[in-house]
Symmetry: C2
Subunit: 304 residues, 2 copies
């Protein structure tokens, strides 16, 4: 059944993780936000960078995943981040995601040691895939060198695709470097390997290049316009739509994006508690968020 | 009782973590190695960078810690690394270390997000200290920008020392930059804040500057000479001893140090299984280890 499940495409978002006053994940706020994203046509890349996933314990992630599924979130729309520094943690999370029939997993390389070899990264992914041992696993590689500081090279992708065709299902390219996305589209794209850009700023170019869509943090706060771009990319006016969503994204440029997006949602919901990130991230200063809200409204932004 | 416990001083080592054939931590090999280090006068900074600690799940670390203590390793000689990306993980590990009366904890900053603020790092350490809530906690900061890519600044140290005197007990400086160690010795050293260099190459200079010692990976394979340097630093011949241990350390320069040290121990114990790191690290190539062994023997190195 899993093998024939529709592949993930379109717009996904690393879902922001709201916390309660004690800095524990707030399941109710989380579920409500996930439902809104789904209703807007956005798939749920839970436990991504912008989800503060690495600031959560494995058990906290498993608990949130269970809660979403128990409350009717369709597993096929979930793409949990399961790549940890510790091999055993990555295996545990990935196993859970496959057992629950998630649409795929998005997997960071282990990111503590720097300048590790492609062989070492291959061995990491390989051990995880073998230990999970499920043909239904769809593993999307997560390339985000500005933060992980451990890149996913073309050599590594080639080796993984050769060893695990069908399991290595695609990549999220958060390099911020279009040349890299283009290289991925040119060299690796196939029925079994989908390229997602990591920012909606590259969405139209990615789709025109045959890519599968984007997995972008700012879909948390600008879902309708980004989904509209995706749905109409072959129609007249696509370039204008692209320019508009890029401009809206750029409102966050140079700001602490996670905290700012949380603050935007807190304002929109009139729920100040939503704004709190978990340390080491800090709340967005009120003066900055005033300016962001004003810019967003000027840009015609609509919250979901 | 804990308050009056002797403070950690001298030579400590981030204990290498041996694995079994299934890549699980090998408790027996580990215990034997810890005992040898202690017998050589080396304190046990378990779960450090060179311990592959971030490649281990929290539960794996708790299990190893329990095993050492159950087998008579004195808690006061243990300085476990307890700093994780996730606040809740750091709290869990630190609580366990304090409950078991470890000599202190060595705490990385959360290292996934880069360019976080000093306020965000202060809030992280502060939350951990408050949640652990034990006056007996002795927290040593772990500054290792080449790998964590998240530094511990002077501003942060000052703020933490002011807020938590007695708890903030010192720092391991693994910047590799003597100017930084000198700055720490000049500005922060006190009865309650001990400076450890992160390499024996700086040991004599650190001790002459009033520092407490070093916490160095290569004590795993060159313990006797490094301890001899520490014990005789005020005696004639100290500079020659320093030159010798630096030269021995430099044999590992440019090599994958963790894998090479493991391979050295595997050779010395005639126990090939010792050589295996956990991915993403890879075993040291045999030709490299041949050269290292030859150099070590030429340098008069003695294994413990």
């Amino acid at each position: 059944m899993r093998i024939s499940m529709p592949r993930l495409r379109g717009v996904l978002s690393p879902v922001l993780t709201p916390f309660d006053a004690g800095l524990a994940p707030d399941r109710k706020r989380y579920l409500a936000h996930c439902r809104k994203l789904l209703d807007s046509g956005v798939g749920l890349a839970v436990f991504g960078t912008n989800s503060e996933a690495n600031s959560l314990a494995v058990e906290e992630k498993l608990d949130l995943l269970d809660y979403l599924l128990e409350n009717g979130i369709p597993a096929g729309r979930l793409l949990p981040g399961t790549g940890c520094c510790a091999l055993t943690d990555s295996v545990k999370l990935t196993r859970a995601a496959v057992a629950k029939a998630c649409g795929g997993v998005l997997m960071l390389p282990p990111f503590y040691y720097k300048q590790v070899t492609d062989d070492g990264l291959f061995k990491t992914y390989s051990e995880i895939i073998e230990r999970v041992g499920e043909a239904g696993l769809r593993l999307y590689l997560y390339h985000i060198p500005p933060i992980a500081v451990v890149p996913i090279s073309a050599v590594l992708i080639e080796k993984l695709l050769k060893a695990y065709p069908g399991v290595i299902a695609g990549i999220k390219d958060s390099s911020g470097d279009w040349n890299n996305t283009q290289m991925l589209l040119d060299n690796f794209q196939s029925d079994g390997f989908d390229v997602f850009c990591g920012s909606e700023a590259f969405l139209l170019r990615t789709l025109r290049g045959g890519g599968a869509g984007c997995i972008t943090a700012t879909a948390n706060t600008n879902a309708p316009a980004i989904v509209d771009m995706y749905e109409n990319w072959q129609n007249a006016g696509a370039d204008a739509k692209q320019a508009a969503i890029t401009a809206t994204r750029n409102i966050f440029a140079g700001l602490p994006m996670i905290a700012c997006m949380k603050a935007v949602i807190a304002r929109e919901l009139n729920d100040p508690g939503w704004a709190m990130p978990r340390p080491p991230l800090m709340p967005c200063p009120p003066d900055k968020i005033d300016a962001v809200m004003a810019e967003l409204k000027k840009a015609g932004y609509k919250y979901i």
